[in-house]
Each structure stands twice: as C-alpha cells, then as structure tokens.
Amino acid sequence: MREDDARAQSALEQALDRQVLTGRTSRRRFVGRSAGAALMATGLASVLSACGIDGTAQENVAELQKEAASVRHPKVPIGNWTFSNWPLYMDKSVLKSFDRKYGGKVKYVEDINDNNDFFGKVRQQLTQDQPIGRDIVVLTDPMAARWVRSGFVTPYDFRNVPNRKNLVENLKTISYDPKRQFTLPFQTGAIGIGYDIRATGRELKSIKEFFNPQFKGKCTMLAEPYDSASTVLIMQGKDPAKASIDDMLGAVAFIEKAAGKGQFRRFTGNDYTTDLTKGNVELVLAYSGDMVQLQADNPNLRFAYPEEGAVTFTDNLMLPANVAHPYAAETMFNYLYEPDMAAKLCAYINYISPVDGIRPILEKTDPDIAKNELIFPTDEIRKRLRLYPSLSTREEQQMYEAMAKVTGA
C-alpha cells in the first residue's frame, strides 16, 4: 500500500514536471519567433498558453484518476477559506452553524451566474495551472464534465466525506465521473414547462406546446443548447443521454426553424422569470427550482414535468485544481450531506436534494415542502427524467456555434 502510494506520488510529480516543462517550452518557442519587445512577448505568450489546453481529455482524466487513488488531505485546523456558489442557492444559517461547529470562517461568494461566464473568469488561471482562489465551486453537469476532462479539478478525499453514503442511488455514478471522485451533487433540478394557467386557460403537459402556433410570440426558449436541444430531443422520442452531436445539431435546427417563424419571443437564461411574471409570455421553458419560488408569489404559475420526459441537471460541488484548503472544503461537503442540514437547505432553496433520507425530516418540519412534487418527484416522474448528452469540447463548441446562430449571436 505504501509502495503504491509512493509510486503514484512520483507519477504525479512527473506529471507536474511535464506540465511545467511544456509551459516553459511554449514560452521560449514564442520568444524565439517574435524577437520583439520583451514586454509584448510575455503578454502574447501568456495568451498562447492560456488558449492551449495541453494533452487530450483521456490523458487528463487518467492523470486525475491516478491522483485520486492516492489523494490524502490530512485533517488541519480550518482557517479562512472560500466557497463560490450561485446566487440564492444557500441558507446562510447553514454556513454560520458550520463556522461555529468547525471553527474558521468561510468566505461565501455568489459569483457564479452562468457556467460559461464563470469559466471565462477563471480560465486563465486554470490553464496556467494557478490556483483560482476558491476552495469549492459549484458547476452544472456539462461544465463539471469539461473541468474533469481538462484536469481542472482536485479529487476529494473520501475519508473526509463519510456522509457521501447518503448520496441518492441514481446519482452515484455519472458518465464523466463514474466513481464520483471529483464531483459531489449539490442540488438537482429538472427542465420543464412553466406557464401561467390564467393565460393559457388549460393545463399544459407536452413539450410540443412550445411549437404550437397558439403560443407564437408568447413563449420563451432557453438559450443554453444543453437544455433546449435536449428537451426537443425528448419530444422527438430520443434519449438525450445517448445523443450524438448530430442529434443535438438536428434539435438545434428544429428550434431554428420555429424561431425563424417568430415562435419564440426571446431566448433566455434564468431571466424568463420576468417575462412570465409580468405577463409578456404565457409559456416558458423553465427550471423546476425557479418555479417553486415563483409559485410562492403567484399561485397561477404552474410547472409540469413534460409527459414525454424531462431533462434533469445536477449542480456539483467540486474542488478546483490547486485548491488551497481541501480539508475545509471536504468538511463542508460532509456537512451538507448530513440529512438535517440537507433538509434545512432544501426547505430554503427548493431544489431537488441529492441527499437520501431528508423527506421524513421535512414531513415534520415543513410538510408543504415534503408534499411538493417539484422537490420530491414521484417515482413515476423520476422514471421520465433524462440526463444531458456527453460531448467532447470540440462537439460542444460546434453545438454552441449552431445555437448562437439561432439566438442571433
């Protein structure tokens, strides 16, 4: 065992050396070519190495797995550390009780508004193998997959997260991280039909409604192709989890055709909420958690899991590469997986919790939440939930390019 550890350690060191070396050569190669002002060269070289991602996805994952086999984050006192998350995605009292229980101080920042924007913010450091100054980040499946593929994550030490046994069965494995060595689900949600029943006058159940001329100019579509194109594939009777890039491009083309006829008022991110609550549109492709929160203010708003099936997404807790306080972060992972804490969080943010055994707790503390099928989907609904497709970075780029044409950008 010890020998194994040592071997893995040296493999890791070699990998690091290699990375440092390649970084150095690329810079030298560049200086040789430009022979211009030194200042300019450093600037250019930094961009060059920032754009280039060394090695293929397989190499990166293999390297990470090696690292995961020997990962050991010893128990250390928790000092100041940083947790980056999406806005309105945390019950702050959970953070306070964490600080009280374990000491130290968590700096909680809500600076992830969009997976791609956030990636743009930290891309430079990640590709240059620099720490990003955050100990936990929360990213949605496709972006989490990209980070794993590119080697931008640190495996977490299972010994510090015994509560991971509480992870619900259906999330214990996922294509890009089969053993959940780099990601731990934070919350999950589904993409479905959001509508105002006063405006539509009837219940909506099918994804086909988004292409119904009745709602021409009165509905919105999500601009994120992982969400919208996958939903269209489900409508066409295909399983997005098994979809190829061609299937996805086909679905984007389908959306494009409808968009050309003025079917969709806008392509949106979370901002469909304004259009729906203000009555600009009657029907939106929506995230389940948003709808629970909107319903609290307006009971006429409805969310339906489409009868054809719904895309489900997971936001994942992750340790970024070169993480400075892995033990603190892992302790938080563990804390969030205590059923009591998970129940408290669920009652506050209203997404689907990935932690087993919180329903009995909520039945006592928040019976309304425990009854809500947006938060606790029935088994019948669970059967209809589908996962995102797995695409390579290049395919992903192709898909985004196609979707950008549809959304006019």
Partner: protein, 287 residues
C-alpha cells in the same frame, strides 16, 4: 549630457508614466488580440498561430447584418440623444442660473446605479401589460401587437437612455463657454434671436456636438447589455456576438477579429464624420 539635451528629454520623462500605462494596458492587450485573431484551432487542442487572415473575411460574411444593425442602432440613439440633449444642455447653460449644479447632478445621477440595474428596471417598466406601453400604443409608437420589449425600438430606447449623459455633458461644457457678447453683438447687428442662434451659437457648439456624438456612438456600437436585456434574437448587436464567441463558443480568433473589424469601422466612420464637420484637428474638440 548637456543641459540642452537634458531639457529636450524632460517632457519625455513627464510623459513616461502615461506612456507606460498605455503600453501595458493598451498596446499589449491590443497586440495580444491581434495575434489571437490570426490563430486557428479549437479549445480542445489549443490555438496556434497560422496567420489565417480568412477569419476576418468569414467574420464579415457571417456577421455583416449584426454590424449594420449595431451601427444603425448606435446611429439612431446618437441622433435621439442629440435631439434630447441639445435643448437640455442649452437650458442648463443659459437658463438654469444658480441651479446649474443641481441640474448637472440630475443628469449624471443615473450613473450612480449600475447600467445593468437601470436597464433591467426598464425591462420591468416596459412590460406588455404596463401603463407605459399602453400609452405608447395610443400614440402609435408601439404597433398593434402591444409589444415594445424584444424589439429593435426597445434596444434603441435603452441605448439612448443609458448614454444620454455622455451627450449632455460635452454639449453643456461647449455652450457654457460661448462668449455671450458674441450673441449680443449679433442682435445689435439686427439678427433675430433665431438667426443669432443659427449663425453664432450653433457653429460654436459644433465641437460639443462632435465630442458628444463620439462619446455616445462609439460605446453604443459595442454595447451588448441593452440588446440582451431589452431585445430578442432579432436585435442582437455585434457586442453580443463578440461576447458569445468569447464566452460560449470559445472561438477566440473570431471574437478578436470581430473586435478589430468593429474598431476599424468606427475609426473610419469618425474620420469621415470629422471631415464633414470640418474639425480635422482633434485638439479643437478637446475643449
């Protein structure tokens, strides 16, 4: 070193901090992006220098409609701002008396709130069911379907609103500095007030009009906030394309090329505009 020589170098020493600043924060990034725009590759294997100038042609071919739209929207917003700002600046400069400061404060007050917040508030105010849209429908600004948001008009409105102070302030500064005695002299020479305005005030205000138009037009061309909040897929501007290329598609070369094309178009436009207004010397405008 002789004294004369040292004297000659002195101004350069004064300019040094500014020059360094420009080199580090302007020249280096610009050169960076020039080099990026000539690379090719994809995010998986990385980008390498291939001197592919074709990126520029492809970008123009694929996105000329967004370019024309951006210039159209920015131009329309500049004209609207000029129409609103000129009387306002005239009023502040000549009629506001001791309340000048207050008026100027009111003009810049919206800047104390983030642009995104301001624009998002308009998104709330201008909803289809809202009072304002109904009134606009009454006077025919909004067509029968009762929709103002998610149209080009809404985007132009947003840009005009957000950039108005950039037009008011230079106009005010120019108008305020005009020597009143010139206008008096004009009326002494039997000019009507209108003719005095047309022959004296207006020509003297040209530098302000020029500066204000540039300050509105240039950032408006590259703006993407208004289009993404108030517009739809039919109103995307070149700024939205650049943003999406950089952050979603990760096609850095095209994003960089688009930025340079935009820069080129704007520079060309300004050169022509400068000719037309007859102020070739930029120092004239600085005032």
């Amino acid at each position: 070193m002789s004294l004369a020589r040292r004297r000659k170098l002195l101004p350069w020493w004064f300019a040094l901090p500014g020059l360094l600043w420009l080199i580090v924060f302007f020249a280096v990034p610009i050169l960076n992006q020039v080099s990026v725009s000539l690379m090719s590759g994809d995010p998986e294997v990385g980008f390498s220098m291939t001197w592919s100038f074709s990126t520029y042609w492809d970008a123009i071919r694929d996105y000329h409609s967004q370019f024309t739209r951006s210039i159209g929207y920015a131009g329309a917003a500049t004209i609207i701002d000029l129409i609103i700002a000129f009387p306002l600046a005239y009023f502040i400069a000549y009629k506001a008396g001791r309340f000048k400061g207050l008026w100027l404060l009111l003009v810049i007050l919206p800047f104390f709130v983030s642009q995104v917040m301001r624009t998002a508030s308009w998104q709330l105010i201008l909803n289809d069911q809202g009072w304002l849209v109904a009134r606009m429908q009454d006077v025919g600004i909004v067509s029968g379907d009762g929709r103002f948001l998610a149209t080009g008009k809404a985007v132009i409105f947003g840009i005009s609103y957000n950039f108005l102070p950039f037009m008011v302030l230079p106009l005010y500064a120019t108008l305020d500095r005009i020597d009143r005695r010139l206008i008096e002299a004009a009326s002494d020479l039997y000019c009507s007030r209108w003719v005095a305005f047309r022959k004296v005030t207006l020509p003297l205000a040209v530098p302000g009009i020029f500066a204000g138009s540039l300050l509105v037009f240039i950032p408006a061309c590259g703006d993407y906030i208004n289009s993404s909040i108030l517009g739809s897929s039919n109103t995307t501007m070149i700024g939205n394309v650049i943003q999406s290329k950089f952050l979603n598609v990760l096609d850095y070369p095209t994003a960089a090329a688009l930025s340079f094309i935009l820069m080129g178009v704007i520079l060309l436009g300004i050169a022509i505009y400068g000719r037309v207004l007859g102020t070739k010397n930029l120092t004239e405008l600085a005032g």
